[in-house]
Symmetry: C2
Subunit: 335 residues, 2 copies
């Protein structure tokens, strides 16, 4: 969409609609080339089945389009989706959270809206946002590790995201043959120990005491609770092993930690750096940094996917967004 | 170099000189666009220090150039080198075998010969040859694992080799914190158990009996030697864990096993496939295949680097070389 002055009447500004589809909520936003105009959340209703949850996605796109100020016109849609996502084909291969299987997301959203659709994996979208706007800016080789309900990584190698048919970075599953059974059917998968959900679950399993997430377990560990301390240490130990594997395989020297658990700050990062360092010998010391975009990373990434789909020059947009993130002038940018 | 007929005299055909520099021997060959014209080996003389071993490389280039038939003219040099190799900078960052440190290989060979120089890591060069001519043909996402004296991998993702400053695929080192001390300073590194050298060394350490390499240990295991059997199983177990890590991180579904140990054939591959399968849950079943170019893979890869450096269209060359490999008309192609 060309932007030029006409006599007596400004032409509409281009804008994108971006959705970060989670198992519980869809986070949406509408952004122009300088920043976010509107944002909101909608319950995903994943329990009502795949058609219903995909209907929520289409409804949310409509809601966001309707929220566009009259000064703006939509030029693209960006969608970030969890599960096994094949960006190259535009297909959600499998999402346990949403019940989607071989769902041609791009084709269906394009048919619904008539707008170009950018499509990505939720973790890879968050990673892209961190890479272009946040903790990873300007580094061509890096890995983003999301530690939240689940555990997964996104690989950026030589400036390009690795997809491998949707299976790249699925480090949370695949067993060590020993340890707790996992939802995937394996035993001792990293996700059974080193995710925010696992930390809470393992503490409750050991003590019978219900807790309010990993944050609560960390608070108890700080107050001298030995079980909380052990559960936290176990998580850091396994996460250290996973990060060391990521470095050994990819050779990157920059790791960005995102997802809910990173809010623990140095209580997570300091021992994690130690665990990684003691496992590596020939590799240079890794820079292990916290993500800076917080829970908004996926939506920012989806917005960038929308602009790319609209084939609009990203450089000035990236500059404007990065400024917004850096100065925290953008509400929710680093929530 | 244009190839055209002139009256009464054919113009010289283009050719490349390719070297696969190992810790013990430099394998060299001279190839035109249809296949290998000459080949040979030279002792590396690594023990005489880095300048001497680099001198051997330059001397070998001269030997190979002198071996060129008068009907041919050299248009490029290809070099494959072990250690930490940064192809992007043209530098050997570190090679324990050769004693090289921050050696600007491309610059020095270019100065010596005046010819364009293609430069690569030995494992990545072998992987490239398998990818373009051998077991990995036509697959954009795959990992090559070299199991010989050492253990290392090369990652081909979305049709591009991953380098990461030379550290990609260094899976042999970096400890599990338990197990045997490794030359790198770690403990329990995969290379201390799952390399051809480790298999021989561990058998001798347990029994006091000197053996002629991993092949000898396998022969003893087949004859019912319990220690040989355990050492072999340990190697397959650790290799299975390493391959599962490679798949978990990269998401690839194709693994090509190269290096000396692959000559064990199904005695290696069948249990390896089992070990990998039992460790993976959400990933598709991996195709684990033997390399087909054998000890010549590194030289073939170096030849391709030479053609690329000369900026000559690779497609017809790849077709001709792949035919040569497939029909085994090329001596030593699958030695």
């Amino acid at each position: 969409m060309p932007v030029s002055q006409t006599i007596g009447n400004s032409p509409p500004q281009p804008a994108v609609v971006a959705l970060d589809v989670g198992g519980t909520f869809v986070k949406w936003l509408v952004a122009d080339r300088t920043g976010v105009l509107r944002r909101g959340t909608t319950p995903t209703r994943a329990a009502d089945g795949p058609e219903r949850s995909f209907g929520v996605v289409l409804d949310t796109v409509d809601t966001a389009l309707a929220a566009l100020p009259s000064t703006h016109t939509p030029v693209g849609i960006g969608l970030a989706v969890p599960g096994t996502v094949d960006e190259r084909r535009g297909v959600c291969v499998y999402s346990e959270n949403l019940g989607w299987r071989e769902l041609p997301v791009v084709e269906r959203v394009l048919r619904h809206t008539g707008l170009p659709v950018g499509f990505g994996h939720d973790v890879r979208s968050a990673a892209t946002a961190e890479w272009r706007l946040g903790a990873g800016r300007g580094i061509a080789d890096q890995v983003y590790v999301s530690v939240g309900t689940g555990l997964a990584a996104a690989l950026l190698l030589d400036g390009r995201l690795v997809v491998s048919g949707g299976y790249a970075g699925e480090i949370g599953h695949g067993g060590t043959l020993e340890g707790e059974p996992c939802t995937c059917g394996g035993r001792g998968c990293a996700e059974t120990v080193a995710s925010a959900a696992a930390i809470a679950r393992r503490y409750t399993a050991s003590t019978g005491i219900p807790v309010d997430g990993a944050r609560d377990v960390l608070a108890r560990a700080r107050e001298g609770d030995a079980v909380a301390h052990r559960v936290w240490e176990d998580a850091v130990e396994v996460l250290g092993s996973v990060v060391a594997d990521l470095i050994r395989v990819t050779g990157v020297a920059r790791i960005v930690i995102g997802g809910g658990l990173v809010h623990a700050g140095e209580a997570l990062l300091t021992p994690l750096r130690d665990r990684v360092r003691e496992r590596l010998t020939v590799h240079p010391t890794a820079h292990i940094l916290p993500a800076v975009l917080g829970g908004a990373a996926g939506s920012w990434g989806a917005a960038l996917l929308g602009w790319e789909a609209a084939d609009i020059d990203l450089d000035p947009i990236l500059t404007a967004y990065a400024d917004a993130v850096r100065t925290r002038s953008e509400p929710g940018a680093a929530e």
